[in-house]
Amino acid sequence: MTFLTTDAGVGTIVEPFTVTDPSGQAWELVVGLEVHCELATATKIFCGCANEFGSEPNTNVCPVCLGLPGSLPVLNRQVVELAMRLGRALRCRVEPSVFHRKNYFYPDMPKDYQVSQYDRPINVDGELELPDGSVVGIERAHLEEDTGKSTHVGGGGRIHDALHSLVDYNRAGVPLVEIVGRPHIRTPEQARAYVQELRAVLLATGASDAKMEEGSMRVDANVSMRRAGTDELGTRCEIKNLNSTRSLVRAIEYEARRQVDLLSAGERIVQQTRHWDEAEGRTHTLRSKEEADDYRYFPEPDLVPLEPAAEWVAAVDAALPPLPAARRRALSDRTGAEQATAALVVERDLDALVLTAVDAGGDPDRLLTRAANDLAAADVGALTAPAFAAVSRMEADGALTATQAKVVLAELVAGGGDPQAIAAARGFEAMGEDELAAAVDAAVASDPAAWQRFVDGDPKVAGLFVGKVMKATSGKADGKAVNALLRQRAAG
């Protein structure tokens, strides 16, 4: 693993995803993600209408979010609180900010403008650390209002062929944070990891429920390619309509190859917005990218500037929960967990249980293995940390085999209890070596033909003998030990 200092901070270098063109020239991928998240408030950003997914169409609307003449917006305090929580969790600075009007004519905004933050966003200059140790810079995380939801009628629901559109303004004015990542992402997998990590931060801070399938978290990918080993950024295309992390990965790979086909043919990439079609597995051109000037941004005269006091920011900092990157590090420091294991255990929200069980005298390696592989995420039922610790000790001491430990754990999750008593009730006392050897010999003797095949080198027959031993010992035998004995007998 290599460490270096980048403009994003200190982090692991990720080997870039490359596409080699027919002439042998390798091109490497550069991705920057823009993520829109709906904030988990009770009401909209500028009015008291409910911020609620799935209401009957046009029931959460009022003069403010419908843009009726004479109505005036007032900023929701909780929007500021949640935006700052997210910003601070992303290691951003909170700065004095101003709202602008972004002017465009499209029926999803009845006002014909969207209120957004332009040159003075609330959060600037942060970073997000991913489980693989890489660090992606965050340019800004600014506030804006969501738009209404259009349904296109006719033409197969495609906007270009629609006969007309139907608009529901329940979503118009729902608070959004747009998190603009720097173009530091080098592989499709890293893009997926970034989105998953960002989602974990959004959930931990309570800023958003971050559901891609319900559209409360929406990801756009800016994709460009450059000659491998160079530093300049190529012309990018923005990919929209990415409804899952799977779409994100597929769309980036497709777009990378599309661009290399053009570049290697000596053509230029035109900066544009493209639409991902999940069914066809390709991107379509949607429109040429507008210049920012075309939106004719100007300061929203109906809203005053936002300047959160230092005390408010300090209170936000003090109340931040432990974040995934810090939790992974704490787990690794205390237990020696590998990067991937620590990531898995934290993702499953089982790190606190493991650490408490370590404190209660549990065996760290066994605890991590069981937490990473055998316990359901977040919900461990009636399993307590001391009981988890006891099972790990019994396994580490050889009193329980791995298979038996899993059975005892499952019973503890289902109904709690004393691990020793459960093991005893199941007859899980450790088998003596002699007893095990006798059971293996009996199994071998019971099927000489199959045994000969095993001796002749057919490894598939091993399962047959392991099964026989398990049956004869009521599952008490350790599968690994049985396999070792079988190999020993065959060799001898």
Binding site: A42, E56, P57, N58, K149, I159, H164, L286, P299, V304
Partner: protein, 118 residues
Amino acid sequence: MRIRTSERGRAGHLYDAFVAERITREDVAHVADLARLSLSEEELDLFTVQLAAVLDHAEDVESLDTEGVPPTAHPLPLVNVLREDVVRPSLDRAEVLAAAPAVEDDRFRVPPALGEEQ
């Protein structure tokens, strides 16, 4: 070059140069297009000249020394006007949709729009 609009009659070619330095007819056509305004050829000529005068005024303002003057984001000396996150009643849907030119499935029915799908 500082020429007042009233001098146009006496120095037409200078005045044309004054306009051309500030804004072109194409700029005005582009801005009109963004605002969904359809302008006649005469209106384009008229507004090009008028907008040049507006930009000229902006240049006058820009020439002032504003060193040390903080930018004004709002005419009111106020920041942080906030409301609590408490739900208030929304409008009655029948009343809202009654004001729409066309309605279908409890939604506003609008002509097809080419552009960004949100």
